[in-house]
């Protein structure tokens, strides 16, 4: 115990990445809300000339929330909890501090420039891998720097056994490395010829069906290793810390971890059901998607059972509310995904709004809730001040929960309606609806979704304000709180 108390952790990097989490969160959600509104009110496409159309802005939204907001939150939490579970301070190694700072600045500047490149229309077109090759190289360097920092910290650790959270961050590092490298294999045309054309342009190493397979092996598992794996790493650390409860079952965490590692990657081909990918691959994708319920629910149930006997905390600690609700949304999302991966359901759901609906109950309800809860927990410890306002947190919680529910219910209805209308035939077997009929019918649902976006964004701004006030006006703490985060 006494050795723990003596150790001063260095939070400078955790703080820096916390700021970018908030910055990119606001940016990504503003763009997301705008493009949601564009689908209901197309006139909004003309706010920024050619740079403001839905089609240009959608990759800006997806990439900013993935590589900006989520990846920042992953880095921020790693630089906070990594030191603590390994019982070693970053400040003990000059080398690790230099690597960490280099990682931060390269990441921050790279992310800004890459976002501008998307606005200008520079794109490899692979979803969530749109950045052209020079930006890919920067991302690889940032990622390797993170890996070096992580391995370095593990190398000088005092606590010999790696805590569960570290397993997940390690898996995030390894998984994303593999996926990103293979999916972005491309030849820059400028260098393959005598300097002809645009230096940024490149051509994919894979073609057609192969390219689709590699892309969705990546696309699905980028979700796995960026939106699931590190977030589980967060909850395994922050829930026990906040609640003062030990993790319910070590065996369940083992089973869930290795289960997730093995099963997740097979499921990528469920994005390609009924396409020209061979049937056996589609079937594998479907089957493994169903199996994926086991490790996913394993983690979520482990979290919920960790609260066993302590459910009263749910009523008076908004942070526990955020974390428990995020596990619940994780369960919802991981049962919904497998349902959509069943062939007959997929025939209706694919290409419709049910898919973005599914993505968003996961990212808004699970990823963003858990990331915000983590930052709420870290802030008083990093800034040595009490959280500024519990009331504001409560209001934010209910506003954003309402937003998520509005988002996914409206998109469920929209998706299933459209899927059914596309295939509806009259008594003679002729198609009943022209395509535009199936667009017009969605207007009310698109409007509801845009409202949901505004609500969620408002909640996020409340979060940003709360953190800002905590840093500047929160009551100062004389000693570090042990479990429950103090709030005014």
């Amino acid at each position: 115990m006494q050795s723990n108390a003596a150790l001063e952790y260095d939070y400078s990097l955790a703080k820096k990445f916390t700021y970018t989490t908030i910055l990119f969160g606001i940016l990504g959600m503003v763009v997301g809300t705008l493009i949601a509104a564009q689908m209901a009110f197309p006139e909004l496409n003309y706010l920024l000339g050619e740079y403001g159309t839905f089609s240009r802005l959608r990759p800006v939204h997806t990439n900013t929330v993935i590589f900006g907001f989520t990846v920042s939150a992953i880095f921020a939490t790693w630089f906070y909890l990594g030191q603590r579970v390994l019982k070693v301070s970053m400040a003990e190694s000059k080398f690790l501090m230099v690597v960490g700072n280099l990682q931060f600045w390269l990441y921050f500047i790279g992310a800004l420039v890459a976002t501008v490149s998307l606005l200008l229309g520079s794109s490899q077109s692979h979803e969530y891998a749109q950045y052209e090759w020079p930006f890919d190289l920067v991302i690889v360097v940032v990622w390797v720097l993170w890996g070096v920092g992580m391995m370095g910290l593990i190398g000088i650790r005092r606590e010999k056994a790696l805590y569960i959270s570290v397993w997940y961050y390690l898996a995030c590092f390894l998984g994303v490395s593999m996926l990103y490298l293979f999916n972005n294999m491309a030849i820059p045309t400028y260098f393959a010829t005598d300097g002809l054309g645009d230096i940024l342009h490149s051509v994919s190493m894979y073609s057609g069906t192969n390219d689709a397979l590699v892309q969705w092996w990546y696309g699905h598992n980028a979700v796995a290793f960026a939106f699931t794996v590190p977030i589980i790493g967060m909850i395994y650390y922050f829930l026990p810390k906040e609640s003062g409860q030990a993790i319910y079952s070590y065996k369940l965490s083992l089973l869930s971890f290795w289960g997730l590692m093995f099963v997740y990657l097979w499921a990528g081909s469920h994005h390609l059901l009924w396409s020209t990918v061979p049937d056996w691959m589609q079937t594998m994708g479907s089957a493994f998607s169903i199996v994926l319920i086991l490790p996913s629910w394993g983690s979520a149930i482990n979290m919920l059972l960790t609260m066993k006997g302590e459910w009263n905390q749910l009523t008076d600690n908004p942070l526990i509310k955020f974390m428990v609700l995020s596990s619940t949304f994780y369960m919802l999302s991981t049962i919904e995904g497998p349902i959509q991966a069943i062939r007959s359901v997929n025939a209706i759901a694919h290409f419709t709004d049910w898919i973005p609906g599914h993505v968003h109950d996961g990212v808004l309800g699970w990823v963003a809730f858990m990331s915000m809860a983590s930052i709420f927990h870290m802030a008083p410890r990093m800034f040595k001040r009490e959280l500024y306002s519990k009331k504001l947190m409560e209001a934010q919680f209910w506003l954003q929960t309402t937003a998520v529910v509005l988002y996914f219910t409206s998109m469920w209805i929209a998706g299933i309606t459209q899927g059914m209308m596309w295939r509806a035939v009259d008594e003679y077997g002729n198609l009943m609806y022209s395509f535009i009929d199936t667009v017009a019918v969605l207007h009310p649902y698109y409007t509801i979704r845009a409202v949901a976006g505004v609500l969620y964004l408002t909640g996020f701004l409340m979060f940003a304000y709360n953190i800002y006030k905590t840093m500047t006006a929160g009551r100062e703490l004389t000693e570090e709180p042990q479990f429950r985060t103090p709030m005014a």
């Binding site: 050619e50 794109s123 054309g197 645009d198 057609g208 097979w266 061979p278």
Partner: protein
């Protein structure tokens, strides 16, 4: 216990993760690779103008709302035409199947839409399809398509992947200068079917507006 040992040995832990996550890709993707890359018999790769149009399609990210994948259901073949075959995509780098149909599928749009239809539609979609939520793409009439990059792409795929472009496709600037009139002739053929004087003037000056390349590409989707 094995797992307790593993948790104290980060190198082996990381190796174990790497092995466990590699299985799926190796078993699902690799075995079919060569077969899935095979084109249909006698299929020709896209012309340079069509490639430039494909790059406009990517630049303005048409695939965020349009698919190019007709699934084997009667409701889809009735609406869009024959279902898609793997070999049809063999020269597509990247693939452009899309994942969302906010608008209709475009894989065979060349069979049922014409140059003048596209011209009017890109200028003002709701005027052609009442109720459409697609934005207008007026800037494609003034922005110029990057035909040189498209040529560089053709040469690159010919050299790297043996895509069957003719022997005149070489990586030198001289070869490009020799090929350029052919691209402009293709562009003129499209522009002749268009109404916009602005576009015709640009073509006369030896420039290719984005919309011309895009229409050439859309017309080639059959």
């Amino acid at each position: 216990m094995f797992f307790h040992w593993l948790e104290k040995n980060p190198f082996f832990f990381a190796s174990a993760i790497s092995i466990v996550i590699s299985f799926a890709g190796l078993i699902e993707i690799v075995p079919n690779f060569a077969k899935a890359a095979r084109p249909l018999v006698d299929m020709k790769p896209r012309t340079v103008l069509e490639l430039a149009g494909k790059n406009v399609y990517i630049k303005d990210n048409c695939l965020s709302c349009h698919s190019q994948m007709i699934r084997p259901f009667k409701s889809e073949t009735d609406r869009y035409g024959d279902y898609s075959l793997s070999g049809e995509y063999a020269y597509d780098r990247p693939f452009l199947w899309g994942s969302k149909r906010t608008g209709p599928d475009l894989h065979r749009i060349g069979n049922y839409r014409t140059t003048d239809w596209h011209e009017a539609h890109m200028l003002n979609p709701p005027a052609i399809v009442p109720g459409s939520i697609m934005p207008a793409y007026k800037h494609q009439f003034t922005n110029l398509a990057d035909i040189e990059t498209a040529y560089a792409e053709a040469v690159t795929v010919k050299n790297a992947f043996h895509t069957p472009y003719g022997s005149e496709f070489k990586s030198t600037r001289a070869a490009w200068d020799a090929h350029r009139p052919k691209v402009l002739a293709d562009a003129k053929a499209i522009a002749d079917d268009m109404k916009s004087q602005e576009v015709k003037d640009a073509i006369a000056k030896g420039e290719v507006p984005e919309v011309v390349a895009l229409i050439a590409y859309l017309n080639s989707l059959k």
